[in-house]
Structure formats: C-alpha cells, structure tokens
C-alpha cells in the first residue's frame, strides 16, 4: 500500500485514496429506507430532495448547523464547507467555533523524518475507527521544530526566522526578529491556554542575563537543580500544560508549566525506576502518560493528572505473549535492515485508546495496540527515511491573519 496522500476531492469521487478502508457513500439511492416507516420519497432512488419540502439541512437552526460542522475536519471546513454559504462561513469563523472544534478534535500524530528535517512531515490520525495517513498539502517553510494544538513552530532553512504555521489552513506568519532571533541559550515552544482561548509562546533561557526585558517571566528558583536541568530539553505540550521530561532515559521528575496560570511546578515520579529503565513520555492529546519498560515487550503504564500533579497507575501493557506474531510481522514488512525487532512506544491515537509502537529503527512498520480491546493492527510509513520522530498533533482552524 502506498503512502496515501490527503487531497481534497471536489468531484465526489467514490474512492478517496487516503482512506485505507474505502466506504461507499456516493450512492444516490440513499433515499431507500429499509424501515417499516412509510417512505414519502416513493422509493424513487433518483430523486434529489426538494429544498422546499419538509426538513432539510438548510432549514436547521443555527446551533444544530454548528453542531454538524464541528464534526468536519479543519482541512475540509477551510477548503470546502465554509464556501457553501455565507452562514456557514460566518459560523465556522467565530472564535467560539474554532475553540470548540479544536477541543473536540481527535489528537493524532505528526511524524517527521529524523535524518532529514527538510522532509515534509506526515500526520496519522484515527477518525471514525479508521487510520488516516496524510501529507500536508503545501510546503512547510524550513524545518519543523515544534507542534502544538494545530500550530507548528518552525524555522526557515537558514534558521534565523521563526514561523508559526497552521498546516490545516496554509496560513503562516514570521515572528518578529526580537522574538525569533536565535540564541544558543533559548528555545521556543507554543502552548494553547484554553480558558483564555489564546496561544502563548514560551521561551526557555539558559542564561538569565540574556533574557530580553520585554518578556513576562516565569521564575524557576523554587525548582530543584535537577528539575531546572530538564528545561534544556524539548518538552511536550498537552492541553495547556508544558511538560519537560528527559527522553528516553528517565529522570525522577517532570517539570510542568501551567500555561494558563503561568505557574511552574515539579512532580516526582511515582516510583523510582533508577536510570537503567527506558522510559517513554507520550501525550494522549489530553494527558501525559509514562511507559516504563519492564521487558522487551511489556511496559508499566502511568498517567499524570496535570492539574494536580498526581500519577495514576494503569494496567501494564503486556505484549510478551504476542511477541512471535509481532516480530514476524515487522520482519516481513520492513524494507531493509535485519537488525533486531525492537518495539518502541511512540504515541497515542484516539484519546489514549490506541498505542502506536514503532517496529524498529530503519523500518516503516508501526504497530497499533488498542489497550481496551487488546486488538493489534499495523500501518506502514513508506517514505524513505532512516529515523522517524513522532509528536502529538491535532488540526485546528485557528486563524493567523
């Protein structure tokens, strides 16, 4: 199977190549209703519904149209749905709609090529029970650096200009030079504060005397030295919280910035795992999870409540009994390299229901494990890439104009 490209068909083509499981929806005989209820359409399969008669979508009250449009993808709303009529344009263009749409969107993954930062990232998401793999439909300027709730922060190829881009709407802007100027002592991240419905740009400085005076400061003196050390690393942004962890070998704490209140705290891990165990900090889109390697194919599983800093233990993820099947599958499907199969948790789909595990280095095989039903599935990343980097992603209509 080829790497499917997301595109925006406007011809009602029956087979959308980006769907892995094709579904027939383009039939015009949808008016045949197989229920005991009398069908006022007289069973004529070719009748279009007359807009003048009884209920139709156009006559629905605004709040129901709002509700229906929320279920569409950001890409579809931006390129199609908002052009249906002015009411739809106005509805989808409100701050409230954009906020609600983001809140309800299903988080997926963005996958970038680790060895070639200029390569376009792809996204993997699960919608209506199916895996969708898509490529962004435009060229991202420079290289992808950091993503958060629908926006990407990236630098141009020279590395001097920092851009914010919404890949769903193809809108971007360059941050002012005072913000984007590179300093070996600073890093930039984005986070969405949902109560105030605002994105905030967060920069970490390693060198206090380099901090521009225009910045609002979050002091970190109350953190331990070990915690402050973590701020050097790339964090994970989840639902208005930025978590600094250290990957993949763990430390015994996580530093969390509440972007809404701008308070930074440190949280000790629930168990001291020492420095030997591999630890994977992954975002479900709603919370931070920690997977601690127990054996080659099993992991201890924890979930952090960001608001309270409490860790909750969840049942271990144990794939040892299915090891044979997994090893066979990955070995058969990878294109090159005969190095050992080494499953690595890389992210979550469907609100923490489906764990994505990367087959091994140098392979495009990804395993999907549903922690609820314990079903196993697979998908392939087929672009030529030596290493892949995985990050949480959701699509948003947020306007950058």
């Amino acid at each position: 199977m080829g790497n499917s490209l997301r595109h925006y068909p406007n011809d009602g083509s029956p087979s959308d190549p980006w769907q892995i499981t094709p579904e027939k929806t383009d039939r015009r005989d949808e008016s045949i209703v197989q229920t005991p209820i009398a069908d006022t359409e007289e069973g004529n399969s070719e009748i279009y519904y007359d807009s003048g008669s009884s209920t139709n979508i156009a006559s629905l009250p605004d709040e129901m149209v709002f509700e229906i449009l929320l279920h569409l993808s950001a890409e579809h709303i931006y390129s199609e749905a908002r052009f249906v009529c002015q009411k739809w344009y106005d509805t989808t263009n409100t701050r409230n709609f954009i906020h609600e749409h983001l809140r309800r969107s299903t988080p997926g993954l963005v996958i970038k090529c680790g060895n070639d930062p200029m390569k376009q990232p792809i996204t993997v998401s699960m919608r209506r029970g199916r895996i969708e793999i898509s490529k962004f439909s435009y060229e991202l300027k420079g290289f992808y650096w950091y993503g958060c709730d629908g926006l990407f922060l990236h630098r141009d190829s020279s590395g001097s200009v920092l851009y914010i881009t919404n890949p769903a709407t193809n809108r971007h802007f360059a941050l002012p030079e005072s913000v984007s100027s590179t300093s070996p002592y600073s890093c930039s991240f984005l986070a969405y504060a949902s109560t105030s419905m605002a994105y905030k740009l967060v920069q970490t400085y390693n060198c206090p005397d380099k901090i521009p005076i225009s910045r609002r400061l979050v002091h970190t003196q109350h953190l331990s030295t070990a915690a402050r050390q973590l701020l050097k690393y790339i964090p994970l942004t989840i639902e208005g919280f930025i978590h600094w962890t250290k990957k993949p070998q763990g430390t015994d704490r996580v530093v969390t910035l509440n972007v809404e209140t701008e308070v930074i705290t440190e949280t000790r891990l629930p168990v001291d795992y020492g420095s030997e165990r591999l630890m994977y900090y992954l975002s479900t889109g709603a919370s931070l999870t920690l997977l601690v390697e127990c054996s080659e194919f099993s992991w201890g599983f924890w979930n952090l409540k960001s608001e309270t800093g409490e860790w909750a233990q969840l049942p271990d993820i144990d794939l040892e009994s299915r090891k044979g099947k997994l090893v066979n599958f990955v070995s058969e499907n990878r294109r090159r390299c005969s190095c050992p199969v080494n499953l690595r948790p890389v992210g979550w789909l469907n609100h923490g229901e489906v764990l994505v595990l990367h087959g091994s280095r140098f392979s495009g095989v990804c395993v999907l494990y549903n922690v609820r039903t314990q079903a196993i599935d697979f998908f392939m990343l087929d672009y030529e890439c030596i290493t892949h980097m995985f990050d949480s992603h959701r699509s948003s209509l947020v306007s950058l104009d």
Partner: protein, 163 residues
Amino acid sequence: MAAETGTPTTLTLKSNDDELFSVAESAAILSVTIRNMVEDGCAGGVIPLDNVDGKTLASVITYMNGISAIPADEEKKKSYRDKFLSDKDFETLADMVLAANYLNMSCLMDAVSAKIAQVMEKKSVGWVRRKFGIENDYTPEEEAAVKEEHKWTFEGVETDDDN
C-alpha cells in the same frame, strides 16, 4: 428486554401528527426531556411531543429500543448506531437532528451530526448545496474571490496516480 419484575411500565407518546406510540419507559428515558416528565410525575397519560412527526418518532423509538437493549458495551452501542444510521437519507437525518435536540438525546444528536458530516466530507461545495437544499448566497464576484483564495488547496498536492 422482557421485564423481570412485574409489568414493565410503558409510556404513550404522541407525535405532532397525532400518531400514538407505546414504548417501554426504560427505553424512553434515554430522552432527557421524557425522563424529566417521568420524574415530575407528568408521564401518566399521553405524552405529547409537539415538535416530532410520526415518521421521525417511529424511527427514534426504534433507536431507543435498540440501544437500550444493549448492555453497557460502548463498542456494541457504537456499531448499533452506525448500523441504525447507515440507511437513512438526509431528510430523515435532518429530522432526527431536530428530534434528538428536542428530546434531549445527546448520544443520538452526536451520532446523527457525525453521520451528516461524514457524508459531507467527501463532497464538493456544489454537491452539498444541492443535496442539502442550501442556496448559494455568494455573489459571482465573491464566489470568484473564494475560488481564488482556495486555489492553493489544489496546488502542491502530489498526484497519487501510482497508488
């Protein structure tokens, strides 16, 4: 769905075109609107549902009975909802959105909205307007500007001939 204890309570619902329906209270209270009436003790006689016609109400009752017969298994409920909605046309879906809203049945509301969106998502603007009975209120100039604006959508999209 047989009642284990004594006789099951049934409610009588009346549509706005005066059709009467008998439905088990346990299924009917999926509607928060009906549940409130039951709790307030005003569900003794015939419950008039002034905003729902007989055809739609029959369909909603089929759904109520179907979904309440499924024990607490979200997966099975989801597949029931999918199957239930799979053969519905747009008028029926639109009627059901209205009914689900009036009856305050959030799970049905959500499923029907998602179904409508799912069908729409693969269609062109023109198809949606035609099928949904929506009048194009953009002027030709605006329409042209709109097309110009979203031309980029089709630029840079790689062909997928090799798939």
